[in-house]
């Protein structure tokens, strides 16, 4: 049996998994029958919960739950979940494992090779962390695909013969990417990518939460972490409501006092004005790098859940003087496209006439020093060799020479980024090359950088006088971890027991009742307590049919309460 072709969208807020079969990508549902699995991890008596149950537990068990950890990918930040403390890639690997289990159950096959999407503006460190997360979930990430590119693939597949220049505006939960592409004769060509790795829907929720704090009359900083978290969740709900309505009535409980506040769309827009401004910069960069202007675009495509906000659509419409498109659900496009990319990597017959070329989102270069006229030297200049938005694969070289007399050793430090000072860029690796003694500037060498579409960066220096070579290969793969390390990590992560799949519906249901109980007041609380007890009794009874029936009946009541308090 052939391996299924799998694409995964590992998002800040939600994650999805899709399979490519019979010439088209298809999303796979999780154990609850939903296609979106919230990227939230919670610990419950040593067992790991991922998804909706964990999301509900954010309210009831904030200390055992972690969310939005994708923002900390590639950093040393750890999240405390009860007694354990985990890094972002470890938490991500738990989400991946959940997706993998669900997909295996849906397909009846084991999954190993996958394509995972990352924001185009993720740097090498963040990409390496994503690869590590895959390895820890026992998945082999054959390729990382940039999220806007994936979305473009999903759209391009709908209209294979078309010819157009288009822009993908991808505002996800935590990251923002803009990509300009051209599509012609089955070629999907990325022309430029830019973005902000720390700007997304979560920031909009946070801004709204702060407005809510202002309305209550307590400064944001003075609210405790728990209340801040509660406001954030409420803001998230309010945000979704304000996309459809002009006004939303929020009910918030702080220290057993209930506050009712009216939020208007104008409030929301004022709170987010600064964030909207930040969206302009990457767009500007993209246009500059492609030499295009807004009139050169044929289509503007919105991707990412946060683009549902009317203010984003207005901003896009105003900026590009064009109606944005959302024919594919903005939450689904990336996962579908990741599956298409997986099919491209696997050379699926259905895609023989489709080719995709991507660009390097960052510049890659080396550190140089300069001698001033007065004799002092300054170190730490960044000299790009492959500039950003160069089509991949690419290979470029430049000549560098010695700076002092009788210098015999040249150190090559490789960096990725756009800042003029190397210390503000991401360090990728270093190596030394020896040259013969000579006057300053007499000895020189070629430095060649080769960057291939799978994210492999190869740097090679050749001394011109001796022909000696030295070099280094930097890959997305976890360069600082050996095979043994990965195996150990994998074992460590497998030690975490996942909640049994067949239980998931019940666990999620219980978590939901508890969350509502936490928010509700007065009579509703009593009713919820009754529901909780009745449901627990049914669980004791161990009659699956009866439990399912109760879930159905009570679900409606819960929906009503949910409607009143949050959604």
């Amino acid at each position: 049996m052939t391996q299924p072709i799998i694409g995964i969208d590992l998002g800040t807020t939600n994650s999805l998994i899709a399979v490519f079969e019979e010439g088209a990508p298809r999303l796979l549902a999780n154990a609850l029958g939903h296609r979106l699995t919230p990227s939230v991890v919670s610990f419950d008596d040593g067992a790991v919960l991922v998804g909706e149950a964990a999301r509900d537990r954010q309210t009831t068990h904030p200390k055992q739950t972690a969310a939005a950890f994708k923002r900390a990918m590639g950093t040393e930040t750890t999240f405390a979940l009860g007694p354990k403390s985990l890094r972002a890639e470890e938490l991500s690997s738990l989400v991946l494992r959940k997706l993998k289990d669900d997909a295996e159950a849906a397909l009846g096959q084991t999954i190993r090779d996958v394509v995972v999407s990352v924001p185009a503006y993720f740097n090498q460190g963040q990409r390496q962390a994503t690869m590590a997360a895959c390895a820890m979930a026992d998945l082999n990430a054959v390729r990382l695909v940039n999220e806007p590119t994936a979305a473009a693939l999903a759209y391009g597949l709908q209209d294979r013969e078309g010819e157009s220049q288009f822009l993908v505006f991808d505002l996800g939960g935590g990251t923002f990417d803009v990509t300009v592409l051209e599509h012609f004769d089955g070629v999907m060509e990325v022309k430029a990518s830019s973005g902000d790795a720390f700007l997304g829907g979560e920031d909009f929720s946070e801004a709204l939460a702060k407005t809510m704090a202002d309305k209550i009359g307590t400064p944001w900083a003075k609210l405790g972490a728990d209340i801040q978290q509660q406001l954030r969740l409420q803001a998230d709900v309010a945000k979704r409501h304000l996309s459809g309505k002009d006004e939303y009535e929020a009910r918030i409980k702080i220290d057993s006092t209930h506050h009712g506040l009216t939020l208007t769309r104008t409030d929301f827009e004022t709170a987010c004005a600064a964030l909207i401004k930040r969206l302009h910069r990457p767009i500007e960069r993209c246009f500059y790098d492609t030499g295009l202007d807004t009139d050169g675009l044929d289509r503007v495509i919105l991707v990412g859940g946060a683009t549902r906000m009317p203010m984003i659509r207005q901003m896009v419409a105003r900026q590009f003087r064009r109606l944005p498109e959302m024919t594919i659900d903005p939450d689904h496009a990336v996962a579908l496209g990741a599956a298409v990319q997986a099919a491209l990597v696997a050379h699926d017959r259905a895609l023989d006439d489709v080719v995709m070329t991507d660009v390097s989102p960052f510049s890659v270069g080396i550190e140089t020093a300069t001698r001033l006229k007065n004799g002092t030297s300054i170190h730490g200049f960044f000299q790009p060799i492959i500039e950003r938005n160069t089509p991949l694969p690419a290979s470029r070289q430049q000549i560098f020479s010695t700076m002092s007399d009788n210098q015999t050793n040249l150190r090559i430090d490789i960096y990725q980024g756009e800042a003029p000072k190397v210390s503000d860029n991401v360090h990728l690796g270093r190596f030394d090359i020896n040259v013969p003694k000579g006057k300053a500037g007499q000895e020189s060498m070629f430095v060649r950088v080769t960057y291939d579409p799978s994210g492999l960066i190869e740097v090679e220096a050749t001394s011109i006088s001796t022909g000696k070579q030295a070099g280094i290969v930097i890959s997305d793969n976890v360069s600082n971890l050996t095979e043994a390390d990965i195996a150990k990590k994998l074992k460590q992560m497998q030690a975490f027991k996942m909640h049994p799949r067949e239980d998931e519906a019940n666990v999620t249901f219980m978590a939901r009742i508890r969350r509502l109980y936490e928010m509700a007041a007065g009579d509703d609380r009593h009713m919820l307590q009754d529901i909780l007890m009745a449901f627990e009794a049914a669980l004791e009874g161990q009659d699956p049919a009866e439990i399912a029936r109760m879930r159905g009946d009570m679900g409606e009541t819960l929906d009503r309460i949910d409607d009143y308090y949050v959604s």
Partner: protein, 392 residues
């Protein structure tokens, strides 16, 4: 780029239209090993060269040329020139798009229309909220346009773009006076909606660069943090030096200026925080060390006296030490302020370097420090006047 004839690399006989070049490229791209940088690079270079040639040969380029941009065509003020080019458009690609509206037509559209473009329909009210293209008519209602505040410029731009632009430029030049930068005004101007126009922004950035360049060829000097902050917010030189170098083109001493800019930006604004905290720690230990030495000195000097006297001497010494330190800071603040008043920025910075080798010029050139200088200066003058009044 490629020394070879680009069209043969693409499998074409002779220079041809952009459409043909793209088709040929698509065919070749599917044949080559796309993971081989050499093969891909050669094809890519050939494609770019052939495409450029095809576009140049085209009588009617469908995108605004560089010349248009240089002339300051902002892309929203002259619908007329767009419509003029319209009739020639179908010939340029040999592929008239049958159902999609051309971008140019859409740019001219001012009223909501039925969605016949194949785009997904999104609420029409969004279209209604698109700004109408500004009309180039003279507006007699703005009686004293030069007295407008910066905040009103956006509103004026909606009515009369030319007037708004010229006021904008005047205010911008004002804020960039050679010896004195009005960072607040600069920030406000660059934050305006009208300043988001790409062509205008490019010009402003160049102007900013030239202004900085004329004053700061020496990266050691740095420039006021406030200015660095404004430049960084709007042009990201420190985080996107590569982009800036592309936009600005080759300029003398470009690298040094960028480096100086990055240097004078406060660390926390560049997300590198670990280093500063360590510096703070050593600074603290340095201070504690001084007091310990002082204490040991007092003890060793007065062996026979009681412990209480030891302590008193120590406290006295410490107080003198602190007083001297504070007096130096205050007097330097006065001198820096005076130098600033006399428009002698360079000597003031030198002096600050000399007086505070450790904290460098950043502190001394900060506006807070100057405010302190102004305050102390006033205080000294007042006390002096009082003394003169009393004894003379």
């Amino acid at each position: 780029m490629s020394p070879r004839w680009p069209w043969s690399e693409l499998g074409l006989a002779k220079p041809t239209t952009e459409r043909e070049v793209k088709r040929a490229y698509a065919v070749r791209l599917k044949q080559i090993d796309r993971n081989d940088p050499a093969a891909f690079g050669a094809l890519r270079d050939a494609f770019d060269a052939a495409k450029r040639q095809a576009l140049e040969d085209d009588a009617a380029p469908n995108r605004p040329s560089m010349a248009d941009i240089m002339e300051g065509r902002t892309g929203q003020d002259d619908a007329a020139s767009v419509t003029l080019r319209e009739p020639v458009r179908p010939t340029d690609t040999g592929h008239p798009p049958p159902q999609e509206t051309t971008p140019d037509q859409e740019a001219c559209r001012t009223k909501p229309q039925t969605d016949d473009t194949g785009h997904s329909p999104i609420a029409e009210e969004q279209f209604a909220q698109l700004p109408d293209p500004p009309k180039a008519t003279l507006n007699p209602t703005t009686a004293r346009p030069w007295g407008l505040g910066i905040g009103q410029l956006d509103a004026l731009a909606q009515k009369d773009l030319d007037a708004a632009l010229s006021i904008f430029q005047t205010k911008f030049n004002d804020a960039l006076r050679p010896m004195y930068w009005d960072t607040k005004a600069l920030d406000a101007l660059l934050s305006l909606n009208m300043a988001h126009d790409l062509t205008l922004r490019r010009r402003l950035e160049e102007q900013l660069y030239d202004s900085l360049q004329s004053r700061l060829s020496d990266p050691e000097t740095g420039y006021p943090t406030g200015m660095a902050r404004v430049v960084e917010t709007h042009f990201q030189w420190a985080t996107d030096g590569v982009g800036a170098s592309k936009r600005l083109g080759w300029r003398p001493d470009y690298q040094l200026l960028m480096y100086g800019h990055a240097q004078s930006l406060p660390q926390d604004e560049k997300a590198a925080t670990r280093q500063t905290s360590r510096n703070k720690e050593t600074y603290l230990w340095h201070k504690v060390g001084i007091f310990v030495v002082l204490y040991l000195l007092t003890i060793s000097g007065q062996e026979t006296e009681g412990a209480y006297a030891d302590f008193a001497v120590f406290v006295a010494l410490a107080l003198i030490f602190i007083a001297v330190r504070v007096l130096t800071i205050l007097s330097v603040a006065i001198i820096v302020k005076l130098a600033d008043l006399l428009r002698l920025n360079r000597p003031a910075i030198r002096l600050a370097h000399w007086a505070f080798p450790a904290t460098t010029a950043k502190l001394a050139t900060s506006p807070e420090f100057r405010r302190l200088g102004a305050f102390v200066l006033t205080a000294v003058v007042l006390v002096g006047l009082y003394l003169i009044d009393k004894y003379a």
